[in-house]
């Protein structure tokens, strides 16, 4: 694999930023750390979401479903297994679930996929609630020694892994195939690309990561019940953050995560019932003002500057 000078520069920048991020717990108090965990969590979720939904333009709303599965993996598994196995199991479960959903719906148009994923979290939640009613057990206690700091570091590590995987995919045949699929799926098929397989593979990556995040976050909640683990809002928030930042670049989503997280905290504090309204307004802003997110805006500005320079 040949790396250019620019590549080395980018990698160094990312490594330094990640190292700085990892230092957060050493210098800040509990409140900032909590925000840090939230931001790290959404960054991983949004970036892995964008790996799939960015190039293919298939809007996945299944994040909450995968996350919930991961949370429950820890919730149930913590009684029988050591913690460190659980995120791995969650990752596998997420991948399997994504494969099933993908194989069923990705052959079809994007709209069917969106609808299916929209209800998926609800579906899983209903099934688990029913099962709990059936077995008589209402919620699960997750009592561990894992602290907020541990969770934060795990998330930063996971973020590094996601960026690495995203970068590698971007340079690979699979990444190229996905870009082509996103541009024109029929041309992709006629060029020799197995479009279903490419889409399903990427979807498995993003589902797996979301499940791992869920597994890592479970100790934070301490008491897990279906409504908590499968918050429907989660899927929408992740979509908004990724689209707000822009899916055209690997660092796009985090640009959306940070301001949105602060905005959400502010609105939740002052107008707790109007968070839904905020989500709605953000969706409209994205569609009408920022169709390619901040990244797209930057690209437009940059090309205008280049065009201006070309004339001068």
């Amino acid at each position: 694999m040949t790396l250019t000078g620019k590549d080395y520069k980018n990698i160094s920048v990312v490594v330094i930023l990640l190292a700085l991020a990892a230092c957060l717990p050493l210098v800040s108090g509990a409140y900032l750390l909590a925000i840090g965990v939230t931001i790290a969590m959404y960054t991983v979720l949004a970036t892995s979401w964008a790996l799939f939904s960015g190039p293919t333009h298939y809007i996945s709303l299944a994040t909450a479903a995968f996350f919930g599965v991961g949370t429950y993996t820890t919730g149930i598994g913590i009684e029988y297994l050591p913690y460190w196995v659980l995120p791995i199991i969650a990752g596998v479960l997420g991948a399997v679930m994504a494969a099933l959903v993908g194989l069923a719906t990705l052959r079809l148009s994007g709209v069917y996929f969106v609808i299916f994923t929209l209800g998926l979290a609800e579906l899983v939640r209903q099934v688990i609630t029913w099962f709990q009613n059936f077995s008589g057990q209402k919620g699960l206690y997750v009592l561990t020694e894992i602290t907020e700091v541990h969770i934060y570091w795990q998330l930063v590590g996971l973020a590094a892994a996601v960026y690495l995987v995203g970068w590698l995919i971007g340079r690979s045949r699979l990444g190229f195939a996905l870009r082509i699929i996103g541009d024109d799926e029929e041309v992709a098929a006629h060029s020799g690309i197995n479009t279903s397989r490419a889409k399903v593979l990427l979807f498995m990556v993003s589902g797996s990561v979301a499940a791992i995040v869920g597994a890592m976050l479970a100790p934070r909640y301490i008491y897990i019940e279906p409504l908590l683990a499968f918050t429907p809002m989660l899927s929408f928030q992740v979509v908004i953050m990724a689209l707000l930042g822009g899916t055209g670049r690997l660092w796009g989503p985090i640009v959306g995560v940070i301001p949105f997280t602060f905005l959400w905290e502010a609105i939740s504090a002052s107008f707790p019932n109007q968070t839904t309204l905020l989500l709605g307004v953000c969706f409209l802003i994205i569609v009408y003002l920022l169709p390619r997110g901040f990244v797209g805006l930057l690209d437009k500005i940059r090309s205008k500057i280049n065009a201006a320079e070309a004339y001068s």
């Binding site: 195939a177 024109d184 060029s191």
Partner: protein, 245 residues
Amino acid sequence: MRTDAPVLSLRGVTKRFGGLVAVNDLDFDVAEHQVLGLIGPNGSGKSTTLNLISGAFPASSGTISLRGTPITHLAAQDITRRGISRTFQLVRLLPSMNVLENVKAGAVFGHRRRWGAEADSYAMQMLEQVGMARMAHAPIGQLTYIDTKRVELARVLASDPRLLLLDEWLAGLNPTELEEGIRLIKSLRDQGRTIILVEHVMDAIRSLCDHCVVMSSGAKIAEGTPEQALSDPEVIRAYLGDDDA
């Protein structure tokens, strides 16, 4: 006249869309290195036939074979990987990529799969062949109509196909461009490429094709050299009506 097995064979190929029979019991062969013209009046089923061959949609019945192996029910990507590549009636380029990347798409996933620097250089060679090398890094939004067609052709060539399907590739060109286009396809023929040409431009058919299949209302009504096919009374009747036959 070569005696090897044909590159492509159609036997009894039929396609129904609900009650409409678009292609009716079609039989023909394409020999290696041959340029076959598939002609006929509008609505005769020529493009549908190409779509059936390329796997854009499945045939209702009949067999399509590539060098003796049936490919009738394969998906488009499998047919491409086995060596059949096509252009589209309305040029389809990938909007988010530049010219070189568009051509690379054919090189990376097609019949011969290349990657990295090898794919880049092969794609550049194809661009040189169609005369677009100087615009390799241009965004496709800036291209003229014939240039977009050239890029699509380069993409098709980049997969090194055994059989090229050109779907009205010469349509919509002005006389100068048409001459260039015909010359380009002639150069492909001189390289020994096997091509199926769906066309309306009679000059092109006469100068490029070794063999013609004429369709009307989904069925084959004549076959032979261009002179034979175009002077066949049935063909004249199909194009012009009874008075001129």
